[in-house]
Symmetry: D2
Subunit: 261 residues, 4 copies
């Protein structure tokens, strides 16, 4: 007789509280991943996963090891399409009507400095979540955190010299078709700010980005609006939220704006 058969199966016991669990599973699970970029190339990264399923009211517990099993067995590079497949596979493995997989990871893009053309990489934080529903209506959510520079229009207008500026971060969250690329979201945020960021800048570049930021001042409100204006005319996006947060150089707190579709 198999040992597995004689061990009590506590999770499969009946539960009598009559409370369905919306999401149950694992969180903060880190695993290697390969990010599939817009241009078809793969980029290795490390993803932090949250994997959950719906649990009917009559079941006492889910089977935690199957979440890890599903992830470990998954051979494909990470993109919206493959995340959908993985989530459906998880639902199947756990006989769940709804399943959710969210993941967060960093990617890099190579940039050329504006004048010297020095090359370096800039990092971005991305996220995806697939919400699978057996009855239909499954949805894909993407998010991206894009660091930028912002220069204050008020400070520029009222000051005889200089203008306060700072690093900020734009967080774009969308419900979108699997064809939408993160690269579009990054480009939109970077072009909406006073200036984009670079890891490597020579002195000639520093002059260029300083003057560019001074010439394109944006409030945190402007930054959010510029991004929203781009998102709302995008065919592949059915819902969006844009958040802009400036790590103000004159305060120890941040300025913040949020627009939701």
């Amino acid at each position: 007789m198999d040992k597995m058969q004689v061990l009590p199966d506590t999770q499969n016991e009946q539960d009598h509280r009559e409370i369905m669990i919306d999401r149950v599973g694992v969180k903060e699970l880190r695993y290697p991943a390969r990010y599939l970029g817009a241009n078809g190339t793969e980029q290795p990264t490390i993803a932090k996963y949250e994997m959950t399923v719906e649990l009917p009211a009559h079941l006492k517990g889910t089977h935690m090891s199957r979440f890890v099993e599903a992830l470990h067995a998954f051979p494909e590079p990470l993109c919206g399409e493959s995340l959908a497949k993985l989530t459906e596979a998880l639902a199947g493995r756990l006989q769940a009507q709804r399943a959710y997989i969210g993941c967060e990871f960093s990617i890099f893009r190579e940039k050329e400095a504006p004048v010297s053309k020095m090359k370096s990489l800039l990092d971005y934080e991305l996220g995806m979540e697939y919400r699978y529903c057996a009855e239909g209506g499954s949805e894909l959510f993407l998010s991206a955190q894009i660091p930028v520079a912002t220069l204050c229009p008020c400070s520029k207008a009222i000051s005889e010299r200089g203008a306060h500026n700072q690093r900020g971060v734009v967080t774009i969250s969308v419900a979108a078709d699997q064809k939408l690329t993160f690269e579009e979201l990054i480009d939109l945020a970077e072009s909406s700010a006073s200036c984009e960021l670079y890891a490597g800048l020579k002195r000639t570049d520093e002059k260029a980005v300083t003057e560019r930021a001074y010439d394109q001042p944006v409030f945190v409100e402007d930054l959010a609006r510029n991004v929203a204006a781009g998102l709302r005319k995008h065919d592949l996006i059915s819902w969006y939220r844009v958040e802009a947060e400036n790590f103000e150089s004159i305060h120890n707190h941040n300025a913040y704006a949020m627009i939701e579709s």
Copy 2:
């Protein structure tokens, strides 16, 4: 002529993108506060604030200094009722139809160890958010993070000796009447776990809590359901979400369950 009158007022300029901003203001602003507990006593703490207002489409920017002014001028101890007042005052100061103030802070409760009666303090993370709407329908949200101990029923049932257990955290979020106290939420979470936590435990106490946890095993699912069962019959709560997260002692990731009303 006053200098303020001659400085350009960039924020008051017209904006032509026709995009209303849902929330704009300050974030990560830390300020001293006095928490008003259920028993009417005050407890000093430090709160981290997010204060925002709605900005109509035709206005270019909000007035960031007024958020700080409103907070600095606020004399009352922190509770649902006073947060509502502060948020309304902010809306007035900024002539906004909607205003939101969220805050997060720590509080302590004195506990007696179960056997030795040794006294010590345990810390909890609380949060409040008031969403003011001039047209009516303002809402108060409370949240509490309560650290607890959980012992795995499956591990206990299948093992000849011992059972894995760990620290976990219950996060309760509710939309509630101002009369609801955080203390009720904390009590509910602590009584729903395998055992509550203490800062100070003598050896006799350690024996008691070890045995109590062994006698009351809960899955992360059980913990969430126990709390949900208490929340759903509470008259002052109109919406709730309970999250339970166990920092599994056998894994490097967490087990997680969530139930939303």
Copy 3:
């Protein structure tokens, strides 16, 4: 017979590996505290404690509950002098030759905006550590994290308009006499930067701080050197390390400089 007497006392057993433990105790223990400021006034705060003692090679374990007991029983406001007393008391309670208590907490200082005189509070992160040695040579260490604004001299010199600037943080760590005040360290860091920070600034103030920062550009190297120059001539300081870190507005990484005495 008392139950305590019959419970096995595992910690008091002999250990035969012949390895002395440098520090053993509790960490991440949060407790309310009252900070005693330079002017003699008390300010409530919440401190995170690390409390440890040396454990001789022949003892198997320390008595963890006594650390909490010592802290819970301590009635005095927090300052270098009282921390020394608490650490000595801990050493006594645990019959240890060496004991260490470190704590981290936030404080606020009221500031007047430079032109409008608007009042608001700014938060600072402080730390203290007392290293008690029964044989003599006990030492007190203080640390302070002071947020400031820095404007890049290179960017100013090479650009036709504007100059990149950003929030930065100065971390000062010192071994010092109990008479040294944190307020001196904060003042030193703030006067060494391009400009100090404020929670509340009206438009007239924003003009003033923008221009001040433009008129006082500092590299991260300058900031560290300015602070070091002040520290090294201070009689009450026997050792120092100053770190300056700028959250560069043109990069997604930070600039950093460190000088140690």
Copy 4:
């Protein structure tokens, strides 16, 4: 005439404060890396770098872009030997007598569950720092954070049933020869605890690890001593510090022990 030649070179100006800077450079710089494991295979990861050099008293500033340039140009997989080369190259590029490069990154090891043989990956946080000194005496430091399970011997001894246990983390820091492998450090920590961790465990495995932990109880002191005993007899290690920290399941604070050679 080249534009670079006409731009003022502020960093190369003379400084008259006569204060040498111990370390100046970049921090929180994230870049892709390939970790070279003990078995010669490469594993992609993302490293966070701190790169600094010593700056003589007479120089006003360092050249920040050269740090990024050095890293971007570096083609080799990450190991002690290659980090030494990169640090020396940095010193050369900046004409510095001393240079320091530290990096932190995650790696994964495949594990087999003890009974079911289910395969899964476990993540570890590693760090390396090379301190280059032109005059000789360069040193390599390694660090590893290894998550483990610990079961309290006292709780087991005094309780009629069960014993509290929890996740903990062992942090090993060493000054070592380039031949030392991280894998040895990980193995040492995992064998020193009550039980090692796994991402994937079936029910039969859960029984095995529960019973194993119960049979091998360790105090945080034991854990630190077990690791120290292994480190001090290792030929390739010239200095070590071991820290053990338990996320106590009965407290909301941690137990901590540290032994330094």
